[in-house]
Amino acid sequence: MSVESSEADLALRIAGGHPDAEAELCRRMAPRIHLYGLRHLRSSSAADDLVQQVLVTVLEALRAGRLRESDKVAHFVMGTCRMTVLDQRRGAKRQERLLAEFGADLVPAAPAGPSIDRERLTRCVQSLNERERSVVVLTFYDEQTSRAAATALGLSEAHVRVVRHRALKQLHTCMEGGA
């Protein structure tokens, strides 16, 4: 039976020059970075690029022993994600040299996302009440905020938020086969 190394152990081993520790850290962190990228960049390919850029930056720092508190690897990766996205939004491309140097072969593929049963989803959405369905359509058609949906429907923002939460919980349950 194998016991997973802690991230602090991995950080120390990477600083000591162990490639297997680098591979293990990449395996663990790539899906998390990818999720962060999906949320902030709204594109799977952009999230893939973010995974590469962040891992290269993190590995460089760990190899050089620049992470003072080795038990804060996850926090460091998250911070690196945030800075990288900010850089991207400023149009910076300062990671290109590092990417060219290290290549993408360190980076594991992001996990495939869950699939969804379209017919079931249609039935689940049709089972919502009218306000819930209108709020869901407005929210997801063009990723509208609660405020925009509220203005469009003549409802209060708080009401829209409550309706959306209720609808999504119902949809989640319905999609899991509970309703």
Binding site: P31, R32, L35, Y36, L38, R39, A74, H75, V77, M78, P111, G113, P114, S115, I116, D117, R118, L121, T122, V125, Q126, N129, E130, R131, R133, S134, V135, V136, V137, L138, T139, F140, Y141, D142, E143, T145, S146, A148, T151, A152, L153, G154, L155, R161, R164, H165, L168, K169, L171, H172, M175, E176
Partner: protein, 201 residues
């Protein structure tokens, strides 16, 4: 939804509504940071977020498909048209009788139902075929200031429907259960898409 391989269970899972708010960028900065810190150390919640993202993407596809019967605001119709979607619109005042159809390349079919909604606390939309109510949309969202309701018909239904007449009524439902007709609108649909209707083929 299919899920990722087994993970260690999370002792403090993030609520699905919070995960969806996170995906929709509806959390404040502090809440967002808390969620992200959790996600960077918890793959189980990451898997749950992926499920919510799949749900959100499915909902987006569905919302854009025109396949739903739903009440929509003016902003929805404007946005659809502005983004290149083909929107077929029919406007009707109370008592109007409208000749209508739908084409193969239409993306949305909407009926603008004019009505004085002032004082109506709850409004239902009723659809009848051949004098029989076949659908009731209860307590639809209305904005009295807009002077009407925009009803988006399912394109799946409209494109497969035979020529037929449909009567839509907007009803004010009183607290005691009584109903008052705010408007009645007749739509006479002529099928123009080639081939037999789905339920006659």
């Amino acid at each position: 939804m299919t899920m990722a391989p087994d993970r260690p269970r999370c002792a403090t899972p993030i609520d699905v509504a919070v995960l969806m708010d996170y995906w929709c960028a509806a959390l404040d900065a502090a809440q967002e940071e808390t969620v992200e810190a959790h996600l960077f150390s918890c793959d189980a919640c990451g898997d749950r977020l992926r499920s919510m993202i799949a749900l959100a993407e499915g909902l987006q596809d569905l919302a854009r498909s025109g396949a739903l019967r739903v009440i929509v605001p003016e902003a929805f119709v404007r946005h659809a048209a502005a983004t290149g979607r083909q929107v077929r619109e029919y406007a009707a005042a109370p008592g109007d009788s409208v000749q209508c159809t739908v084409a193969a390349d239409d993306d949305y079919l909407v009926a603008r139902l004019g009505a004085d909604l002032a004082g109506a606390d709850r409004v239902d939309l009723s659809v009848s075929l051949k004098g029989v109510e076949v659908q009731r949309m209860h307590d639809i969202p209305v904005n009295a200031q807009t002077g009407g309701v925009i009803y988006s018909e399912s394109m799946v239904f409209a494109k497969t429907a035979p020529s037929s007449s449909m009567v839509i009524r907007l009803l004010s439902v009183e607290a005691g259960g009584g109903e008052r007709v705010l408007g009645e609108y007749a739509f006479h649909h002529t099928r123009t898409i080639a081939g037999p209707p789905a339920w006659e083929s």
